[in-house]
Amino acid sequence: MIRYLVRRVLLLILTLLLTSMIVFAMTQALPGDIARLVLGRDARPEAVAAFRQQFGLNDPLPVQYLRWLGGFVTGNPGRSFAAGNPPVMPLVLDRLGNSFLLAGYTLLLTLPLSIVAGIVAALREGSWLDNLIAFISLSVTGLPEFVTGIVLINLFALGTGWFAATSLVQDGYTVVDWLRVLTLPALTAGFVLGGYVTRMTRAGMIDELKKAYVRTAILKGLPRRTIILRHVLRNALLPTITVIAISFGWLMGGLVVIENVFNYPGLGSLLVTAVEQKNLPVLQTCVVLIVFIFAAANLLADVLYAALNPRIRLT
């Protein structure tokens, strides 16, 4: 187990190194001079030279890369190209915190309901309730996020004013303020995730309920509740749990559309702005961080799966 973890962590570091190199190489492939791109076509040559000097763009590529890498490891991957040149790290960390909050809240809102819905649908397979749950879960996953988002805004923000339509997160927010801001984007993301989780859970339950060991348990004379809770659930939820762990990566770094619709200051929207503004230091740091979250979520999924499944021993 320890060996396995060490190996996986080493692999994760290798992945990060490779991605950071690829991102670095790709930014160099942008057509034209990056300083001119950032400062504008009419920028004076002196300003361009100063910019290049300030961000070390004159150094050879490997030197630039190593400097960035050193900075990243020590927690200071340089300064943003944006006005005022604030340091990258606090900015990214701030967004990371917001994303984390949104992701956690989404899971909290979605999982209990969607897992229970999946279980109920499986236990009543073929009934009207099963069909209804299938219909709802399919339609909420199928709708594009911006459609759900805009509908929600119209219904619950503009219509009733219960929730905030846009989320200008400010210091000194109370819990209520946070809930006002977070609920609608979390619901939008939760629809996609929840529909998926419901269907995974239902499929997993139906698969397991057909297994011979369930009949053994019935013939042992155990009550139905015990059979479901003790025997079936832990096997049926295995694939769902993996999916949830992996989707955590998506919630953290992949909510670009939702963050845009709600103006939510998360990692995804930071990445998009960085691309638009050719803000290389922010871009690189963001990408590496998101890759890290995805990889870590995957590792977590594998470890969880093995921990819950005695047939798998990590070696």
């Binding site: 011979a212 348990a217 013939l219 042992k220 004379g221 155990l222 003790r230 499944n309 005695p310």
Partner: protein
């Protein structure tokens, strides 16, 4: 036998909901089981054994219902109990051991948890008491180290151990009735019903030696939706009379306590009619006397390393698995080489290495006097044509999207090297189908429209399509009913003579091998420990393992008490193959330390009979000829 029966089913009927209607699966069954009595239930697949067995426990699948009759148990009628009350009875007073232990245990709970929950729930035992009870129950099944087994998960046990756990589970509440749903061939003294007589006669052990054919039952068991109304067996019964199709025969008590549902029962009992089919005793062709070898294998070896490259680099690889260790054999023209051995002994690996599907590590193969490369891709098209395989599960090897005709036609055109015209292929397809006892009309069917036996016939026809010299059949009948198995075995025997092929026939069933094979090899942990003619391997001197296998297989005849030596414990994992003689850990005739220390010599007896054992052949003969002569 005057005591009240433990359970008494009266006119019990059960129905399944199928295609919107209710179909009878069990009709008017009456049976009583007394204390300490073993009640056997036999029949072809789908005849309703499992349905009845579980019905007796008051359990029905969700789409089933009781349709009449009663089951009296403990003064209660199980057909009328609420599901919760029925559940309390089963598990506590009625135990169940399923047909197939595989998957019958929950993979993510330990054996201990699964054993203890029964007694904790039904008998309200404390954790400690339940643990102790579980241990005792496991001990009763003679499992080694019950304490350790309790801590393990199902996947860490062999199939045999899982089966014992299931039995221990059923025993742990000390039930009054145990329902064992097991595919064993039960013992009869003298059957009276035409169906039972047919079933029994189709067992290979019942045949009058190799020269005769197996008796078969006509037709196949009817599906639930098309069962005859009067006598259910009427469509297939050789003794059927007009009355059988119009009136249901009553269940009649016989003088010896048996009961029988057949209009012609009295005549059968009196011996004036006999349902055994006289037309089928015509002799089947025997193998030619002159032995021309077509396949020779020398010193074949195959070791599986299933560890990943990374594990091997870091020195963490699990022990390699020696699936084949120095195997040599010769198969003659038109002969059948029968290979027996417990599961895991390497039979399938040997077959696959000869067929080239698994690449052997070492050793030499020779086909028709020409060297045969081990890897498939280095074999000539001629060699590929000459070795064909038939597998255990016909359904898995037939492509569901090809009709029977397309599947056969494809093989024909590949091995005819495209030289066959379309008409020629159609003609040959029809001929092949007829050779395996089907009609040309089957060419248009898809595999899902075939029964298990028919699928296996198509698979056999496909193997013959290439006109091979050798057909390797890996357990081709073990997924089939005994009645269907008889048809397939007869077919294989006929085809051998007509088409002049040889077989390498693999089975764990000694009777099947004994019926079909001229030469028999007995495998244990990757080695052939004994080989010889059928008569040589079934009479002293025999290898102690062969001896144990023979005495372990149940005898169809009750008058012969089981005797001889017993095998104890499970077959060891080939990963931890014992040194010296691989059989020494279980051998009842073990000589002493020499068996564990030195590889036994290959002793050659009369007629090429080979035995790998330290005990000299003469001593083996003496030991095995005196009853109770084991140490």
């Amino acid at each position: 036998m005057t005591a009240t029966p433990v359970i008494h089913a009266q006119q019990l009927s059960l129905e399944y909901r199928l295609q919107g209607g209710w179909q009878n699966a069990i009709r008017g069954v009456t049976l009583s089981i007394d204390r300490q009595q073993i009640h056997g239930l036999v029949g072809e697949s789908g005849s309703g054994k499992s349905t009845l067995g579980m019905g007796l426990m008051g359990y029905l699948p969700e789409n089933a219902r009781f349709a009449g009759g009663s089951i009296l148990f403990d003064d209660k009628d199980l057909t009328r109990l609420s599901p919760a009350d029925a559940a309390r009875l089963r598990g506590r007073l009625i135990g169940f051991v399923p047909q197939n232990p595989l998957d019958a245990l929950n993979p993510s709970l330990t054996i201990g948890e699964q054993l203890q929950e029964v007694t904790r729930y039904h008998l309200r035992l404390s954790r400690a008491a339940a643990h102790q009870r579980a241990c005792q129950a496991l001990e009763q099944t003679r499992i080694a180290e019950p304490e350790a087994v309790l801590r393990r998960y199902p996947h860490q046990l062999s199939g045999g151990m899982q089966q014992r756990v299931m039995i221990a589970m059923a025993l742990s509440t000390r039930p009054r009735l145990l329902v064992l749903d097991a595919p064993v061939q039960t013992l009869f003294r003298r059957p009276l019903h035409p169906y039972t007589i047919g079933l029994l006669a189709s067992l290979p052990g019942a045949a009058g030696g190799q020269q005769s054919r197996l008796a078969t039952i006509d037709g196949t068991a009817a599906p639930l939706t098309g069962r005859p109304a009067a006598c259910v067996f009427a469509e297939r019964c050789p003794l059927v009379i007009a009355q059988c199709r119009t009136h249901k025969p009553p269940l009649e008590q016989q003088p010896d306590g048996r009961s029988l549902r057949c209009w012609r029962g009295p005549e059968i009992a009196a011996g004036s009619v006999n349902p055994a089919r006289p037309a089928h005793v015509s002799p089947a062709a025997a193998a030619p006397a002159d032995a021309v070898p077509i396949l020779r294998a020398e010193k074949l070896r195959k070791t599986f390393h299933d560890a990943s490259l990374f594990d091997r680099l870091t020195g963490k690889a699990s022990a390699p698995l020696k699936a084949l260790d120095d195997v040599s054999l010769t198969i003659n023209r038109q002969a059948t080489f029968g290979l027996v051995g417990e599961s895991g002994s390497g039979k399938t690996t040997l077959a696959r290495v000869i067929a080239g599907l698994t690449v052997g590590d070492d050793g030499r193969l020779e086909l028709l006097d020409r060297p045969l490369a081990l890897p498939l891709h280095r074999r000539s098209p001629e060699a590929l044509r000459n070795i064909r395989m038939v597998f255990q599960n016909p359904g898995d090897t037939l492509n569901p999207y090809y009709t029977v005709g397309q599947a056969l036609g494809r093989t024909l055109s590949v091995f005819g090297r495209g030289q066959f015209s379309r008409e020629e292929i159609a003609r040959r397809t029809a001929a092949l189908l007829e050779a395996v006892g089907l009609t040309a009309a089957y060419a248009g069917r898809y595999p899902e429209q075939l029964s298990g036996g028919e699928k296996q016939r198509v698979a056999i026809a496909r193997a013959f399509a290439a006109s091979p010299a050798l057909i390797i059949a890996d357990e081709p009948t073990s997924a089939l009913d005994v009645s269907v198995q008889a048809v397939i075995l007869n077919l294989l025997k006929d085809l051998r003579a007509d088409q002049g092929v040889s077989y390498l026939f693999i089975s764990h069933d000694l009777e099947v091998i004994g019926y079909l094979a001229d030469w028999i090899g007995v495998m244990y942990l990757g080695e052939i420990v004994e080989q010889g003619t059928r008569d040589q391997v079934s009479a002293p001197p025999m290898h102690p393992y062969t001896e144990a296998l023979l005495s372990a297989s149940p005898s169809v005849d009750l008058t012969q008490p089981a005797q001889g030596i017993r095998l104890t414990g499970d077959i060891p994992s080939p990963r931890q193959k014992p040194a010296g003689c691989p059989f020494h850990t279980r051998c009842p005739r073990r000589l002493g330390p020499i068996c564990a220390a030195e590889v036994p010599p290959l002793q050659i007896g009369e007629g090429g009979h080979q035995i790998r054992c330290h005990i000299p052949l003469a001593d083996l003969r003496t030991l095995q000829s005196t009853p109770g002569g084991s140490g």
